[in-house]
């Protein structure tokens, strides 16, 4: 089944390009560590999901590019076409002559309705090219102007038009010390609108990815392209094909659906985070060997201590003793900074994948009291290695990892709102104070629900 990607705004388009590039490079990677036949099945599965066929053989990404300025889209289209390996469709892009000046309300109330028809037409054309549509993957930033406001509008529209298709929004959490003054307003508006109309929100924090680039990849001058490549690597390790069942060698038909069924069936808990291990520069890769035991131990501790990479993990954080009543557990967790999970999805790729011991992730202490590890923990596997890593593991988790950052953003936005700072920029274009209040209420509810796990 196919996934149609929607690249919104500068952020979405740049990341989207890296994602397709990573997927393509991995599926055509020479070191496969598996048989030829299996590799062909892997390639076919990846191709069907993300690319469509063209007469002269160059695959076309199943994507729609939207931006209010032409610059980034043209750059993206050019970069893809120049590579010669894959490209975007000729008419898959939609752009206008001027931007929206980082004004969320303008993006939502003006750009959205004005350009609704052509954008949805493009999406429909792309959806019709698929034999079967699994769902939409929408890449956007949370705090920007065009990407955020327009993204919220488009996602709402998709919910009306394609109510039975799945929707996952990949959102970029802004830097804590971002340059845009109103980024907190934008963030809460985006989040609250998406929470209502999207099925899952996959969050990447700029700060975290930045640190990965600095510490693990040893990049001196970190550019956006480096950050996006790390991000794309993480997404690729989640969405590339995996076996459909334990012991099967057929690839999963509907990864988006399976992921959502396992992780976000509850309407109040939709925030997902990705961690993967190992992540390092190519030079270091040649000198490293890994064991599943070591990788999984680190990954588990990363989850528990809410670390985003395998360096600098706080090994003091431990799961609380079981047998405590639920109330006691919550307060104890808060003291220990223990990150409780609701559900986890572990994706293992590479050599000897069936021998990996998963006991550490099945510990009930990791999870909330109302969901047992049988329901809460799932694992996907494939023997085919990912992108030159002999063994790699990715963990998609629905956990408390965003409670603090979200609380911080809501707090800052509320302080600004209390003094009515910059509100006129929004009310000018139809976003009233009630909309702000609705957003605050919803997000406070989300924070409270996650806190009370």
């Amino acid at each position: 089944m196919s996934i149609v990607t929607l690249q919104l705004g500068q952020c979405g388009n740049q990341i989207g390009f890296e994602v397709f590039d990573a997927l393509f490079s991995d599926s055509h990677c020479p070191q496969r560590l598996c048989s030829k036949r299996e590799n062909e099945a892997y390639q076919a599965s990846c191709k069907e999901r993300f690319f469509s066929e063209e007469e002269n053989g160059v695959p076309i990404a199943r994507a729609v590019l939207v931006d209010m300025e032409p610059k980034v889209i043209n750059q993206t289209l050019l970069k893809a076409a120049q590579s010669g390996r894959w490209k975007y469709g000729q008419h898959s892009g939609f752009c206008q002559k001027q931007g929206s000046g980082n004004n969320w309300a303008y993006g939502y109330s003006v750009h959205g309705p004005r350009h609704e028809e052509p954008i949805l037409n493009l999406i429909q054309k792309e959806a019709e090219k698929c034999d079967s549509l699994s769902g939409f993957f929408i890449i956007m930033s949370m705090a920007g102007g065009t990407g955020s406001g327009l993204g919220a509008f488009v996602t709402q529209n998709l919910q009306d038009q394609y109510s039975s298709s799945l929707k996952m929004n990949q959102i970029i959490w802004p830097y804590g010390t971002g340059e845009v003054i109103v980024q907190n307003y934008n963030s809460i508006l985006t989040l609250s609108h998406l929470y209502r109309s999207s099925d899952a929100l996959l969050v990447h924090e700029n700060d975290a990815v930045h640190k990965i680039c600095a510490k693990l990849m040893n990049i001196k001058h970190i550019s956006f392209s480096d950050i996006n490549q790390v991000l794309a690597h993480q997404l690729g390790s989640v969405f590339q094909p995996t076996y459909s069942a334990e012991g099967s060698f057929h690839y999963r038909r509907n990864p988006l659906g399976d992921l959502m069924e396992n992780l976000v069936p509850h309407p109040e808990f939709k925030m997902l985070g990705v961690r993967n291990i190992p992540q390092m520069s190519e030079n270091s890769l040649a000198y490293s060997t890994f064991t599943w035991a070591g990788l999984l131990k680190h990954l588990r501790q990363m989850l528990i201590s809410n670390a985003k990479m395998e360096e600098g993990i706080d090994w003091q954080v431990r799961p609380p003793l079981s047998g405590l009543p639920t109330l006691g557990k919550t307060s104890l967790n808060k003291e220990l900074h223990f990150n409780t999970s609701i559900a986890n999805l572990l994706i293992l790729r590479g050599k000897d994948v069936h021998s990996a011991d998963l006991g550490g992730f099945k510990d009930p202490a990791l999870y909330t009291s109302w969901l047992a590890p049988d329901n809460a923990f799932n694992v996907w596997k494939t023997q085919r290695a990912f992108s030159k890593y002999e063994k790699s593991a990715a963990l998609v988790s629905n956990s408390q990892f965003l409670v603090k950052p979200l609380d911080v953003i809501v707090g800052k936005a509320w302080n600004m709102f209390a003094s009515k700072a910059y509100i006129h920029q929004y009310t000018k274009f139809g976003i009233e104070e009630e909309d702000f209040l609705d957003s605050f209420t919803l997000l406070e509810q989300v924070v409270a629900s996650y806190r009370n796990l």
């Binding site: 089944m1 939502y108 109330s109 003006v110 959205g112 309705p113 609704e116 028809e117 949805l120 034999d131 079967s132 549509l133 699994s134 509008f153 709402q156 529209n157 009306d160 039975s164 298709s165 799945l166 038909r253 509907n254 659906g257 399976d258 959502m260 069924e261 976000v264 069936p265 509850h266 309407p267 109040e268 009291s369 109302w370 969901l371 329901n375 139809g430 009233e432």
Partner: protein, 452 residues
């Protein structure tokens, strides 16, 4: 050899003489045949019965040997487990359409008892049998032949295991009658359940539903692709294209061999079924003697299922409520109608003329629809699966296609008339616009095109 003087009549369950010890097939069948067909050769009579039973066994899934049947007549305990298994197999296949469930033999026996009771099996002796399979083979044999005699059991079973070569789709929309389903593992709720867990499970169900819909859509589009790619390949010109099974046959020789094996085994069962039909009279005559060999049932009337007291009261309550609701609805409808008539009655004669004209027009539309449907033979669709064959693009899809198109035109017209004018303006607050409602397979609101 004239044996018992049983005055057994078919349908009379209370008469019988006591059975005697174990006898061979020859003696047994000769005794039952002797009264009726004296001219039949004895040796021949001895062989016909085991052959008939063997044919029956080959037709049934998990059919036991004729020896088991013979022992069952004399109520020998070693025949009981095989017959319990056979009954479970037959009844569960009918219920769950071939899905297999593994249960311990005691659970199987319990389930067989409840299934037979729900079907109306009249003999009380079955319910009193122990579930460990230590005895009761004669009673089980009687139950088996009751099932066989009652309805087209063999035909149903054979239909379920039929090897389909085409791509089939079910047309029938009948709801299957409720019946005792197979027992599932019971999960006891531990005290109070966290509501978040329930919400989680509900959400999972919803996602599975959506995944299922997506899979069905995928299956449809892939089927369409296979059918269009293999156009002109089939030797049967009416079909014109290959099905999935047939395509797989061509691609993979191993699949072809497996298919051949399945067809051969189905053929063997069908031949056995035909043989059984030819020979079954002998079996039924023998079953008469089995019934005769049973001790008479202690009391009459027949065994009725016990309705618990509490349930009967609740049923009456519900029936009363339903009646009250119906009365309410009738009263409300009357009031509405009266109000409307009084409002409309004052509008003058031309309104009543319009009203009459509208009613006539609606009546005409309905008759036209009905005629189109009947012309297309829509109502005469039999139940069961039908082989999928795509209609030709030229649109000459025959009577059914024409009827379908006429229906769509009518429905489109009616829905656009009912929807009213589209909302044209957008207010200050930006909200995504919504198109007019209507059947999703009909007009597409976005393009505004009417369906052809």
């Amino acid at each position: 050899m004239q044996a018992q003087q049983s005055r057994y009549r078919r349908g009379d369950w209370t008469v019988g003489t006591a059975g005697s010890g174990a006898r061979s097939w020859e003696e047994d069948s000769a005794s039952c045949m002797g009264r009726r067909r004296r001219r039949v050769d004895r040796a021949d009579a001895g062989g016909a019965l085991p052959e008939a039973i063997a044919a029956l066994s080959r037709t049934l899934p998990a059919g036991p040997s004729p020896e088991i049947f013979r022992r069952a007549k004399f109520d020998l305990p070693e025949a009981a487990p095989a017959l319990w298994r056979l009954l479970f197999c037959l009844l569960s296949q009918l219920r769950t359409n071939g899905a297999s469930v593994s249960l311990v033999p005691e659970a199987q026996a319990r389930w067989v008892k409840s299934a037979l009771r729900s079907q109306g099996y009249p003999r009380r002796g079955l319910a009193q049998l122990p579930e460990d399979g230590s005895r009761g083979s004669r009673e089980l044999l009687l139950a088996l032949s009751w099932l066989l005699a009652r309805g087209p059991l063999l035909e149903l079973l054979l239909a379920q295991t039929h090897v389909w070569l085409g791509d089939e789709m079910l047309v029938c929309e009948c709801k299957t009658l409720a019946s005792p389903s197979l027992p599932a593992a019971r999960v006891e709720a531990e005290g109070c359940v966290d509501i978040r867990r329930l919400q989680w499970l509900m959400g999972k169900l919803r996602f599975r539903w959506r995944k299922l819909m997506a899979s069905q859509q995928e299956q449809c589009s892939l089927l369409g692709k296979i059918h269009s790619y293999t156009r002109g390949c089939h030797s049967d010109h009416r079909l014109g294209h290959l099905s999935v099974t047939e395509t797989e046959l061509l691609r993979d020789p191993e699949a072809g061999r497996q298919l051949l094996r399945r067809l051969q085994s189905e053929n063997a069962r069908l031949e056995a079924a035909l043989e059984w039909r030819c020979r079954e009279l002998v079996f039924w005559q023998w079953m008469d003697t089995v019934l005769g060999a049973c001790p008479p049932e202690s009391s009459w009337p027949a065994f009725l299922p016990r309705i618990p007291e509490r349930g009967a009261d609740e049923l009456e309550l519900v029936a009363g409520e339903l009646q009250a609701l119906q009365e309410e609805l009738r009263a409300a409808a009357e009031a509405r109608r009266a109000a409307w008539v009084s409002r409309v009655g004052g509008l003058g004669p031309e309104w009543s003329a319009t009203q009459q004209a509208t009613q006539e027009a609606v009546g005409q539309e309905l008759t036209a629809l009905r005629q189109a449907w009947e012309r297309g033979g829509g109502r005469a669709q039999p139940h069961g699966p039908h082989r999928l064959v795509p209609s030709s693009r030229a649109g000459s899809g025959g009577a059914l296609g024409a009827a379908e198109q006429a229906l769509r035109r009518h429905a489109c017209g009616l829905s656009t008339a009912a929807a009213g004018p589209r909302p044209t303006s957008r207010g200050g607050r930006a909200r995504p616009g919504r198109g007019p409602g209507g059947p999703p397979w009909c007009c597409r609101p976005r393009t505004g095109a009417t369906c052809a």
